[in-house]
């Protein structure tokens, strides 16, 4: 691969990564600044993380929400992996016309 090509490749990758990651960096800045600064569009992280966090915990039951999310995610991932591996294996090894139709209907849902 020529030097020129590799420079172009790196440039494209860097631009894509920057564009992908920028909104998340922006979110980080927003989390650590006061509301006024965020509305004005400040782009550097500040020092208000602890205060913002206290406000958040005061307004919502954060612990319960996180527990719910974790519980759902773990259980769903586990069960989905289990069921889908076996189902996929079954659909592929014992392949026939009827199972094809069934799989298409499942995909539609």
């Amino acid at each position: 691969m020529t030097k020129m090509k590799s420079i172009v490749s790196y440039a494209v990758l860097i631009i894509a990564s920057f564009l992908s990651a920028f909104p998340l960096y922006y979110m980080l800045c927003g989390a650590t600044n006061t509301s006024i600064d965020v509305v004005r569009g400040r782009l550097y992280p500040g020092t208000y993380l602890a205060e913002n966090f206290k406000t958040l915990v005061g307004m919502q039951n954060l612990g319960l929400a996180m527990f719910n999310s974790f519980r759902n995610a773990i259980i769903i991932t586990f069960v989905a992996l289990l069921v889908c591996s076996i189902a996929g294996y079954g659909f592929e090894i014992y392949h026939d016309k009827g199972k094809d139709i069934l799989m298409n209907i499942l995909l539609l849902a």
Partner: protein, 257 residues
């Protein structure tokens, strides 16, 4: 699903009324607007996203790039965000005095009123979708690319003097067909049923100009006085559309050997 089908044949109150709900669907102006919006997102966003993902995967697959892990992680990161939180971020980024407009005025173009005009609002949704799902599809293509033996490329170069472009079109794409088919079907089905962005980012857009079909169904069912039967009819319509498009894509792409 079967029950939804049954629901769609009745009027509110339970009386069986045949296909009148479907006739109403065809005359509904809002439905036509949402149909246009949804298909606009579908036709513009899916090709751009899949092509971008393919290019990025191809770049990341080359053995001469260093730091592949970092690039891969950064590009995949948007998929890990929650839909509601990223809608909030994009709303604030595209606000009249947000970062995007500041960059635009910085380089000399005029700032765009992203959420108050119909077409810019639609482009915000397209951009948001591309941002979020390119990394996801890129990972699929990377996995598919890594299954292709490097010796195939070497053979084509030595035996046939194939240029990189020819290698890409005649070797890579045919070998990636199953993966491309899978991502195309998933993206089609996902984009046609788009709901979260329309609800959270633009709340339907100025007037109804960015509302998607699913958002419209939600409004009918839960926001206005519920007309579940009509909503069920609409849902069946979406199902039929997705089924037809998927069937077309499978006919074009699938081979079972």
């Amino acid at each position: 699903m079967a029950q939804a089908l049954l629901l769609s044949f009745r009027k509110t109150g339970g009386t069986f009324t045949g296909l009148s709900n479907y006739a109403r669907v065809f005359q509904d102006k809002t439905f036509q607007q949402c149909l246009f919006n949804t298909f606009f997102y579908f036709l513009i966003q899916v090709p751009i996203m899949l092509v971008l993902a393919l290019i990025l995967a191809q770049l990341l697959n080359s053995p001469k790039i260093r730091g592949k892990g970092i690039f891969r992680t950064l590009i995949f990161l948007p998929c890990a965000t929650s839909l509601v939180s990223y809608s909030m971020i994009f709303k604030s980024l595209f606000a009249p005095d947000g970062v995007v407009n500041r960059v635009l005025t910085g380089i000399g173009l005029s700032s765009v009123d992203w959420f108050q005009s119909t077409w810019p609002a639609r482009w915000v949704i397209v951009i948001a979708l591309i941002w979020r799902w390119t990394g996801y599809n890129m990972v699929f293509y990377l996995a598919g690319l890594q299954n292709i033996d490097y010796s195939v490329y070497e053979a084509s170069y030595i035996d046939g003097g194939a240029t990189p472009f020819k290698q890409f079109t005649k070797i890579t794409i045919p070998l990636l067909k199953p993966t491309i088919l899978m991502t195309a079907i998933m993206s089609t089905s996902g984009t046609l049923q788009l709901f979260d962005e329309s609800m959270n980012l633009t709340a339907g857009g100025p007037g109804k100009s960015t509302m998607t079909l699913a958002h419209y169904i939600y409004n009918i069912s839960f926001v206005e006085t519920p007309k579940f039967n009509y909503a069920a009819a609409l849902s069946v319509c979406i199902l039929v559309m997705v089924a037809i498009l998927s069937a077309i894509q499978m006919k074009v792409g699938d081979k079972r050997d």
